[in-house]
């Protein structure tokens, strides 16, 4: 019963703060609301799914590192004036369609995930030993592929940063 109330509260918080990310005039405030959203989602992981590791890593990586970099860039660019950038209508249209398509892909990929939960053996997601075993035995290939993906993104970021400096 309590977990149901908690679910409603956290979901409400996540949705409201996500809406505020979009509707805030100041970009710094958008970032701060996005941090609240991330906290609400990691609250789901910790209190409802019993996946403490995932929740804390989400806080460390997203709220603690990535959002700090976001804030960093926004503060440097001095975007705090409440000016809205107006993009051409074609761009807005394309953005709406592509994000809609992304939503469909995400929902589609989540559809088969109900069967995946049984792999862990027990419901104790909080145990890092269980998580490590599943990750490095049954899902070793996807795990390595995603790490290569991250490496490519990192190399790409370094390349972009470098070419801008020389050019």
């Amino acid at each position: 019963m309590l977990s149901q109330y908690l679910f409603y509260f956290l979901s409400f918080l996540a949705v409201i703060s996500a809406l505020l990310v979009v509707f805030s005039k100041s970009s710094v405030q958008s970032v701060l609301w996005l941090i609240v959203t991330l906290f609400a989602i990691s609250g789901h992981y910790i209190f409802l799914l019993n996946a403490e590791f995932l929740g804390v890593v989400q806080v460390i990586v997203y709220a603690g590192a990535i959002m700090v970099l976001f804030l960093f860039v926004i503060m440097f660019l001095n975007l705090n004036q409440e000016v809205e950038a107006h993009k051409p209508a074609v761009l807005k249209f394309a953005a709406t369609i592509s994000s809609g398509l992304l939503l469909i892909i995400i929902i589609g990929s989540l559809k088969g995930s109900e069967q995946l939960g049984t792999h862990v053996g027990s419901n104790d997601f909080s145990s890092i030993k269980n998580l490590g075993r599943v990750l490095f035995k049954e899902f070793l290939f996807p795990f390595e592929v995603s790490s290569v993906l991250l490496l490519i993104a990192m190399v790409g970021a370094v390349m972009l940063g470098k070419s801008e400096k020389e050019g």
């Binding site: 701060l32 590791f53 804390v56 603690g64 700090v68 960093f72 503060m75 890092i128």
Partner: protein, 347 residues
């Protein structure tokens, strides 16, 4: 159930009070240590040996006029110092302040909660702590504050990476993320078997962690976010009265907590040599252990001050070079060697 709850409430209040007390007297100790190193007397007017100085400072900070800059964002301006203080106080929850205390045949642990990802929790809270500085510095609407805030965030993110990697070597060795289990791993003289402190096995990890702890606490020689020769007062230039007090105070709490974490991870925590060979009762061992932990903490707080009054401040590019080109590769190397040794010995 009720007694457990009561015990936990007492423990929470005690940890809160002790954190504040230690922070208050760290300010006094810092001035006394500085005075000793510079051949001065230090504060000696308020009470015997100036012992009431922290109280006088506190009253002074509360009585000062509170100024909020006209152009700043009022809500964020208040949120900054509050967030910094809250995150500083949050980490005390997972530190094992002592072993089991036996009251009327029931064992009570002197740790508020033993979550099995204790260290990660600490890292999570520390990584949120930087928002206190960033939001405060940005909301002041002052260029010096903004530069201080940006320096602070860049510095903290950079050193968090090396710090995390140095801890992974330790975690690989002990096989747990829980601070309680890491403490138990270092228990001395248990029925003839000897466990050394982790610093014996992981001296490099300790060294990297210690240097990173200085940077994370914004302590000299890495106190660039509030470098007064370049940035007036850094991120807290515009803050006055108790809002400034919260920033300064939280820094001392951070120092206390870092000292506690260093003692727990590398110097045996609440364990002390021969603890099970002296034939003492369980409660006596627990109380002595807590005293041992606090003497280690006090030593490390003194060490923080010792370094501050000995080594001059780094230049900003030197700081970044040390973090990314010095400590990060070293911690990765340490990680590789630890992994290789574990692999060889487990076969």
């Amino acid at each position: 159930m009720m007694t457990l709850l009561l015990f936990k409430v007492i423990l929470v209040v005690a940890v809160f009070a002790i954190s504040l007390f230690m922070a208050a007297y760290s300010t006094y100790a810092e001035r006394k240590v500085a005075a000793f190193m510079q051949d001065r007397l230090g504060p000696d007017r308020a009470g015997p040996f100036g012992l009431l100085q922290p109280l006088a400072d506190g009253v002074k900070l509360f009585m000062k006029e509170e100024i909020t800059p006209e152009v700043s964002n009022k809500f964020l301006f208040v949120l900054g110092p509050s967030l910094f203080m809250i995150t500083a106080l949050m980490t005390g929850v997972v530190i094992p302040w002592g072993d089991l205390l036996n009251i009327d045949g029931v064992n009570y642990s002197l740790q508020i909660t033993d979550i099995n990802i204790g260290i990660l929790y600490v890292f999570g809270v520390v990584s949120i702590g930087v928002y206190g500085i960033m939001i405060g510095g940005w909301a002041s609407n002052n260029k010096f504050s903004l530069l201080g805030a940006i320096r602070a965030s860049a510095q903290m993110i950079s050193y968090e990476v090396a710090m995390g990697l140095s801890i992974i070597a330790l975690v690989m060795m002990t096989g747990t993320l829980s601070l309680k289990e890491i403490s138990q791993f270092q228990a001395g003289g248990m029925e003839g078997s000897w466990n050394f402190w982790n610093v014996v096995y992981q001296p490099f990890s300790f060294l990297i962690f210690l240097i990173c702890a200085f940077a994370e606490c914004n302590r000299a020689p890495f106190d660039l976010p509030e470098c007064e020769t370049e940035l007036v007062g850094g991120y807290h230039t515009e803050f006055s009265s108790m809002k400034l007090g919260l920033y300064l105070f939280a820094e001392y709490i951070n120092m206390f907590i870092s000292a506690a974490i260093i003692s727990t991870l590398f110097f045996g925590g609440y364990n002390f040599p021969f603890m099970h060979d002296l034939g003492l009762s369980q409660n006596a061992i627990t109380i002595l252990g807590t005293a041992a932990l606090f003497s280690k903490i006090i030593f490390f707080i003194f060490f923080f001050m010792w370094i501050r009054w000995t080594i001059p401040r780094f230049r900003y590019d030197q700081l970044m070079n040390l973090g990314w080109k010095g400590l990060l590769p070293l911690s990765i190397l340490n990680l590789l060697i630890t992994g290789a040794v574990i692999l060889i010995f487990s076969k």
